[in-house]
């Protein structure tokens, strides 16, 4: 059996998790540094409502760009992200079956779950888990979320993050990410990862390291931040209104906490660009991280509050 192409790998994993009953989401269309930051994870893990989802997520980390010159490093890589809330008892076995589904014969390989706890100070989030090692290669981050947006979680969600380029390079036995076969055309000719993405890696490395306008990026950051903050403050005002003046609960439910989250994501990405440009001084750095964290925590609180109201309504 020949190894799957890059896109077959994605399709097979998606099919596996769709069969399991996950909502197959599409990638979130705002820049994120990791699949965790997409609302399908960051917001869905909050509150009591069970949820299962799988989605592909391009993750952009401007500082990791290498102008397409390094065979193992990318500015933008693809993750397949699975959220199981709550996790089933056989979640590890389920995960191992997903590896079989992409053609890995576990009897012929060495699998280890090695301690690796995940933490994101910017998101006020942390979890306990492992990096899954396949013949010495880290192929998946497996995390039991404990806290998100500064909020203790119950139920707990399990998050599986497959690093798709690594997995594909492993399966296809190639040494450079750019040599991964993305697909085979009708004429049998291969289209490689390099054909599809090399120019993008080069140009975005150039942009992020050399061209991104630092001053404008700061301005963008301030603009997004102030709007996000205003929305977070606005939520508290609406809540107060419903409590004191008996305004309709509908006011709360329609309040755009999700809009605020998009703005928060924009801030996070701009921070990453400024960081790649070396534009954030030591003294500023901690402060900016704290500012973004405040946005993420503020949105998480508002979102959770909305969920609880809807939940109560549904129960009543």
């Amino acid at each position: 059996m020949s190894p799957p192409t890059f896109q077959e790998l994605i399709l097979k994993l998606q099919a596996f998790w769709a069969d399991y009953g996950c909502v197959l989401q599409q990638p979130y269309d705002i820049e994120v540094g990791a699949g965790t930051m997409a609302p399908e994870t960051f917001l869905r893990v909050l509150g009591p409502k069970p949820y299962r989802t799988a989605y592909l997520q391009p993750s952009r980390r401007p500082a990791d760009g290498r102008y397409g010159e390094n065979p193992n490093r990318l500015y933008k890589h693809l993750q397949l992200q699975v959220i199981l809330k709550p996790p089933p008892n056989d979640v590890q076995e389920l995960y191992l079956r997903s590896l079989q589904a992409i053609g890995i014969d576990l009897r012929k390989h060495d699998i280890k779950f090695e301690e690796d706890n995940w933490e994101s100070p910017t998101l006020g989030a942390w979890g306990i888990g492992w990096q899954v090692m396949l013949d010495g290669l880290e192929i998946t981050q497996f995390t039991y979320f404990q806290q998100c947006g500064g909020i203790d979680l119950d139920p707990i969600s399990a998050e599986l993050t497959y690093g798709l380029e690594r997995l594909a390079a492993f399966l296809q036995d190639v040494d450079s990410i750019y040599d991964i076969v993305w697909t085979r055309g009708a004429d049998g000719k291969t289209v490689t990862y390099g054909d599809v993405r090399l120019a993008e890696e080069l140009q975005f490395s150039v942009y992020n390291f050399e061209f991104a306008d630092v001053q404008k990026a700061w301005q963008h950051l301030q603009l997004y931040e102030s709007e996000c903050k205003a929305l977070i403050d606005g939520y508290a005002a609406v809540k107060k209104k419903t409590a004191e003046e008996g305004a309709a609960v509908e006011e709360v439910r329609r309040y755009p906490a999700l809009g605020a989250f998009d703005l928060c994501l924009k801030c996070s990405h701009l921070f990453n660009i400024l960081d790649a440009r070396g534009a954030i001084s030591v003294t500023e750095r901690v402060g900016v991280i704290a500012r973004i964290r405040a946005l993420a925590v503020g949105v998480a609180k508002a979102y959770l509050d909305q969920q609880q109201i809807s939940f109560r309504e549904a129960a009543a």
């Binding site: 709550p86 590890q92 060495d110 280890k112 013949d135 010495g136 290669l137 040494d175 030591v282 003294t283």
Partner: protein
């Protein structure tokens, strides 16, 4: 006498926590059985504990199936309440009913409070099954984990990882217990991949063998032996080669495997052009591979990977691991080459954007502080005619932190310093500079050597003192088990460097130099605590580290250490010499006697002080009345001068012997002279004499700290 087995099955437990948890679980079960009187004699020997990444287990052989019955005396109401005119009252009847015996069988007892009625009853022992089912879940729940987690809805318990099965057996009988929502039974699980069906444990004592049949080696010692044997066997494939012994790595891989195997892999010889430090770090720290040396002791292009499976028949696992290592080495090579494009000198400015600590600013500022401190310390040493190159030390201080801006250190943080040293050499800086940079984080553990050169030692001292001073100035000193900046380790390092380089710098000098840099740092104004108070806290902290060093590293007796440090805790080398001198004489009769005398002196002076008595600094010879005090006064005056000159020459042992020779005159003094005389003039002069002795002869060690009673020694 049944055997007890308890196994808790989890998702993979972090390797670093398994050993301690296994021991604790074994101890908990041992203690439980003893507490509940379920053990026969020599219980310890019959208890074995097991662990793999997915399980902890304890097997206790020959447990009592039943607690023994015990006789117990219950005390009831006072006799005068229980009986009226020889007849039992309702109180007596109620007591007898409660105790479950006939009124006729009630006894009378007398205790200090009076006469009472009593009943002797037999408390029936409960069955082991009943007790264990109740108690074992509590023991499981009480296990200590450095980090644990919730996983179940409603968050009823925390454990290191989700609990998936429990086996609890008394011989072949399952114990009806439940923990974390899991009911115990006789079904365990074998190896994740090599077996599919659950393993039924047919009896507690069959546990180890039945697991082995399911490809799980439950005993970590057996896995260790298996790994060592396989490492040897694989290494023999390369003629003359040896694998690098590595206790820490062995311990890790033992706790990452249930059924260990070993494969030998190779890498391209061309990578051997990279520094060995880099190659070994990648293999050991990142991939958990053992490095291999060739017949001549040089790093060979091979590695040994530990598998958690029974072999690699198709060579796929070896192929995969080689691929990963190649990618890692390629990365390292890429970084190594890319980093060379910007020399270390140009990286100094880049340190402005690398945070040292959020309130203390960047590594650029730290570098400036270190350079200034190095310059002051070297000045002090040069004054003492120590030969040291100021130029070398300053260059090393300037470049010491620059490797933090390199890709290689960003990727392999544990190579900080080392990479800087290697780059400095590659960029043709003098060897002394490169070595000082290479060494300046040393010693990183008790086994790690101190910096090789004096210049490296001074840079290292300045760097460590700067970190300690800065953190203390922010109020971030270590407390209890919390020491996030590893300040204790750094302070231990300072003590060791001073000791092993035989440096006559005082701790006070080192830290006033370090704090001085913070005092003049205008950008830190307002962020720092009062620097005098900060110094007091640092001095106390360093004294504790010095005490630790003298006691636990140099193995001086604790009372010797106390005596020496009470006299002075500022000069490390000097403290060691004084401790050696005191240790040499402390068991001689004269010294023991003089130590006792000094304790007496200390007590007399304390009591006098508490009693409001006063005395002058110096005694007056012509106020000495009795012959015994005149003799002592004369000897004290004479000894004082002699001690002063001996001490200056650091002839500590001779000084101590000289002081010990005071013994007969001191003994006679205490025999014949009453210190606390009625006469004010006599008394205050005698007190002044004793105070002079205490002051003049306690500079090497405070003798009153020496333990003289035989029973108190160790």
């Amino acid at each position: 006498m049944p055997d007890l087995l308890i196994e808790i099955g989890c998702e993979e437990i972090p390797a670093r926590m398994i050993e301690a948890a296994r021991e604790e679980f074994g101890k908990r079960v041992t203690d439980l059985l003893q507490r509940e009187r379920l053990t026969v004699q020599r219980a310890e020997a019959a208890i074995a504990s097991f662990s793999t990444p997915r399980r902890l287990a304890v097997l206790a052989r020959h447990v009592s199936s039943q607690q023994p019955n015990v006789e117990e005396q219950l005390i009831g109401p006072a006799t005068k309440v229980a009986f009226k005119d020889g007849n039992p009252t309702p109180a007596a009847e109620a007591f007898a009913r409660k105790a479950g015996i006939d009124i006729a069988k009630l006894e009378k007892i007398t205790n200090p409070k009076g006469e009472y009625i009593a009943a002797t009853v037999v408390r029936k022992g409960r069955s082991a099954a009943e007790i264990l089912a109740e108690a074992l879940p509590k023991e499981l729940n009480a296990l200590y984990w450095a980090k644990n987690m919730y996983w179940r809805a409603g968050k009823p318990e925390r454990f290191v990882r989700p609990v998936r099965w429990i086996v609890a057996l008394l011989d072949d009988e399952s114990l009806p217990l439940e923990y974390a929502g899991v009911k115990a039974g006789n079904r365990s699980r074998g190896h994740r991949v090599l077996t599919s069906a659950p393993v039924t444990i047919s009896g507690a004592n069959e546990y180890v063998e039945e697991l082995k049949a399911s490809k799980v080696v439950a005993d970590p010692a057996e896995r260790l032996a298996q790994i060592r044997k396989a490492l040897d066997a694989e290494t023999r494939k390369v003629s003359g080669a040896r694998w690098r012994e590595d206790a820490e790595l062995l311990n890790t891989v033992v706790n990452l495997t249930e059924f260990p195997g070993v494969i030998l892999g190779s890498f391209d010889r061309a990578f051997l052009s990279l520094p060995e430090e880099v190659l070994v770090t990648v293999m050991r720290d990142h991939q958990k591979y053992f490095a291999v040396d060739d017949a001549s002791g040089k790093l060979a292009p091979h590695f040994l990977a530990i598998l958690n499976t029974d072999g690699d028949r198709d060579g796929m696992i070896r192929h995969g691991n080689e691929r990963v290592l190649r990618a890692r080495f390629n990365d390292a090579q890429f970084f190594w080459q890319a980093d060379q494009k910007i020399p270390l000198m140009e990286r100094v400015e880049m340190l402005r954007s690398v945070t040292f600590q959020k309130d203390l600013g960047s590594y650029w500022s730290k570098t400036e502080r270190i350079r200034a401190a190095v310059s002051s310390l070297i000045e002090a040493l040069v004054k003492r005619e120590v030969s040291i190159s100021k130029e070398t030390a300053d260059k090393a201080a300037l470049l010491a932190k620059t490797d933090l801006t390199t890709e290689l250190v960003k990727e392999f943080t544990e190579l900080q310093g080392i990479v800087g040293g290697l780059y400095a050499k590659a960029q043709s800086h003098p060897e002394g500079v490169a070595d000082a940079i290479y060494d300046h984080y040393r010693p990183e553990s008790t086994e790690d050597p101190v910096p090789r050169s004096l210049e490296g030692a001074i840079v290292s001292l300045a760097d460590k003192a700067d970190s300690i001073a800065g953190m203390f100035a922010l109020g971030l000193q270590p407390s209890g088990s919390k020491d996030p900046f590893a300040l204790r380790r750094q302070a231990n390092g300072i003590v060791r460097i001073l000791a092993e380089h035989n440096l006559s710098l005082s701790l006070e000098q080192i830290f006033s130099v370090a704090l001085e840099q913070y005092r003049v740092a205008t950008e830190l104004q307002g962020k720092l605590r009062d620097l005098k108070e900060t110094y007091t806290a640092i001095a106390q902290f360093l004294r504790e580290r010095l005490e630790f060093y003298l006691r636990d590293v140099r193995r001086f007796a604790y009372d010797v250490v106390n005596a020496v440090l009470s006299a002075d805790a500022n000069y490390v080398v000097d403290a060691i010499h004084r401790a050696e001198a005191v240790s040499a004489v402390r068991l001689t009769d004269d010294f023991i006697a003089i130590s006792t005398a000094f304790k007496r002196i200390k007590n007399i002076l304390r009591q006098a002080r508490e009693g409001g008595k006063k005395w002058p600094d110096e005694f007056k010879t012509d106020h000495l009345l009795e012959p015994a005090e005149q003799a002592l006064g004369a000897r004290v005056t004479e000894t004082r001068d002699r001690v002063l000159s001996l001490r200056k020459g650091r002839h500590y042992q001779e000084t101590l012997n000289h002081i010990a020779q005071l013994r007969p005159v001191v003994d006679t003094f205490f025999d014949k002279v009453m210190v606390m005389a009625e006469d004010d003039k006599l008394r205050s002069n005698r007190l002044a004499l004793l105070a002079t002795m205490q002051r003049s002869f306690s500079e090497i060690a405070d003798f009153s700290e020496i333990v003289t009673e035989k029973s108190a020694g160790s």
